[in-house]
């Protein structure tokens, strides 16, 4: 029998047992949709994290105090005495010491209570330098950022995140207003653009002040030179690793320690990304694994139905053989039928997956990314499952002796 005839016969056989065929396809359908959606959710989460980390700024290196090593645990710490100082920032800003580092933004942070008239708002206060703005890839929607002169003078100025400004001043214009932090009254000179929250902090809820102002006038306790984090921006992506080397060398020499005793950690966006997405990926693999098992169960369902079908249609098989069907033709008929069941289930599963990808984000507040590769892959897998599930029933049908098949009731 020709391929066209075989496919038509398969479709007729599937169509004549509609309920059973649809239930069989349902198994494959659910499996394919589940795999697509779990993988899509995982990829969506990874994209989200990647976006958030990229939003930190480009070509960014982050130096934090203390170092975590596998052998000796965590050395030094941000909570105790910070090992990073403004001296480190000055050293790294030098074109001679670190030619591949374009900008340095030392940051000292602390949670403080802000007061504007009668309104109180607790938030993260960041003490830094004017380079913070380009390094963190931020901009202002209103007003201006503070200058180097204001940094030198420990001027009474503050730049607020959009959320902070709204919380403190409501709908009113915050520019030029006064805000009191820990007894120091500052003038609001700018409002930061809105970027949304990252994994750890709300980037729109913070107050940015000159580092000198923070250390000498706001911070309650003492280390005027101590800083919490150093943000370094490399000249370009290509020299990111050179910048990394230079920063490490310079910091080791200013701290007078060896690599083994390093009291700081330099991380790049890439390493942050790897860490942040590792957990997501593990979860995705786990969920996709469970979904794949449901797909496998769907495949077993196809095989089961095909075996039932062979037993049920034993007279038909006998008749076809009596009329001249070769074992190969019979085998092909049942194989095509099984793979059609698999493929149809797959197509419907992909459609359900696409619908789910549109609908799910409204309920989960999680993006779902479905790649064309995943869709085509799912179709291929469902076809293969159909074929594999059909091999045994089909060869059983092919092996039936025509007389036995015709005789049976």
């Amino acid at each position: 029998m020709s391929w066209g005839g075989t496919i038509r016969t398969a479709l007729e056989a599937i169509g004549s047992r509609r309920l059973r065929s649809s239930l069989t396809m349902l198994g494959i359908l659910i499996g394919v949709a589940a795999v697509m959606l779990t993988v899509g959710l995982g990829q969506g989460a990874q994209t989200q994290v990647r976006d958030q980390i990229n939003r930190l700024g480009s070509n960014l290196l982050i130096v934090s105090p203390g170092s975590a090593t596998s052998t000796s645990g965590i050395r030094g710490g941000r909570g105790s005495a910070s090992t990073l100082t403004t001296r480190d920032a000055t050293a790294l800003a030098s074109r001679v010491v670190a030619p591949d580092i374009a900008r340095v933004a030392p940051v000292v942070t602390g949670s403080q209570s802000l007061t504007a008239r009668s309104t109180n708002w607790s938030t993260n206060v960041v003490g830094t330098t004017p380079d913070w703005l380009p390094v963190r890839a931020r901009s202002l929607t209103q007003g201006r950022f503070f200058t180097l002169a204001e940094l030198g003078d420990a001027a009474s100025v503050a730049v607020l995140g959009s959320t902070t400004a709204t919380e403190l001043f409501g709908g009113r214009d915050a520019l030029g207003q006064s805000v009191t932090i820990n007894g120091t009254t500052l003038t609001v000179i700018g409002i930061l653009n809105t970027v949304g929250s990252s994994t750890t902090t709300d980037e729109d809820d913070q107050a940015v002040v000159p580092q000198t102002t923070y250390s000498s006038r706001i911070a309650s306790s003492g280390n005027a030179r101590g800083i919490s984090t150093l943000y370094l921006q490399a000249v370009s992506t290509d020299v990111l690793s050179a910048a990394y080397q230079e920063a490490q060398k310079a910091l080791l020499s200013t701290h007078g320690v060896t690599v083994a005793a390093a009291d700081f950690t330099i991380s790049s966006q890439q390493s942050l990304l790897t860490t942040a997405t590792a957990a997501d990926r593990t979860l995705t693999v786990l969920l996709a694994g469970i979904a794949a098992i449901s797909l496998l169960v769907g495949g077993i369902g196809v095989m089961n139905i095909m075996l039932v079908s062979v037993t049920e249609r034993i007279r038909e098989i006998g008749l076809r053989k009596a009329l001249g069907a070769t074992p190969r033709a019979v085998r092909r008929q049942f194989l095509v039928e099984a793979s059609t069941l698999g493929l149809c289930g797959g197509v419907l599963g992909v459609l359900l997956g696409l619908v789910g990808a549109r609908v799910l984000p409204h309920f989960l507040n999680q993006p779902v990314t479905i790649s064309p590769v995943a869709g085509i892959g799912a179709l291929g897998v469902s076809l293969v499952i159909g074929i594999v599930a059909g091999v045994y029933p089909a060869s059983r049908a092919a092996r039936l002796a025509p007389i036995d098949a015709l005789r049976s009731e």
Partner: protein, 246 residues
Amino acid sequence: MSTVPLTGDVIWPILRLRDVGKVYATGSMEVDALRGVSMDVDRGEYVAIMGPSGSGKSTLMHILGCLDVPTTGSYHLAGEDVSAMSEDALAAVRNRQIGFVFQQFNLLAALPAWRNVELPLCYSGAGRAERKERAMGALARVGLADRVDHRPGELSGGQQQRVAVARALVTDPSLILADEPTGNLDSHSSADVLGLFAELHDQGRTIVLITHEPDVATSAQRVVRILDGQVDSALSAIPASAGSAR
């Protein structure tokens, strides 16, 4: 035992069985279903094979239809030795040389009449247009030109058996093999189908009809009686019509 002498004729009879034996192994028991059957059927003959149930006539029919192969002896169909053919070769012989008519009709319930009739042509690789044309022609020949799109469930028993006869005819086989074709039909439909066989015989077809009803056997030219797996030569010599006349 019948002793049909082998002649040196260049023209083979359509069927030639020589000393055909068939042994079935059921569990530890061996059953001799056929013990040395020899017979010839010539082109254009209309032969009835008669015997009570258990006589081995079904086994003989399976061997004649190439649905089974003999344990011993030889079987030539249109000059070809089918005793030792592969499964694929047997399928081809069934497809081209033999048209089957079964007691149970064995039509596919999901397909309209003409699709049932074209089924053997699907396995011989005929094109779609040719298949349809030949199926329509065969249905017209059995007088069902106006029922081509009816499914078996919408047809009477007699009409279903006519569809089955059309299916047997459609490949233009050397031999039409009918296994109790009237077993499930009322007397009117039986007469109808037997009339059809008579017509086909008049057109020069070779027909082998297996039955246990003497009335049915009378429509044939010649009756071969099977008893205990052997051809009962004494009774076979007498034509069924003559037998019933006595």
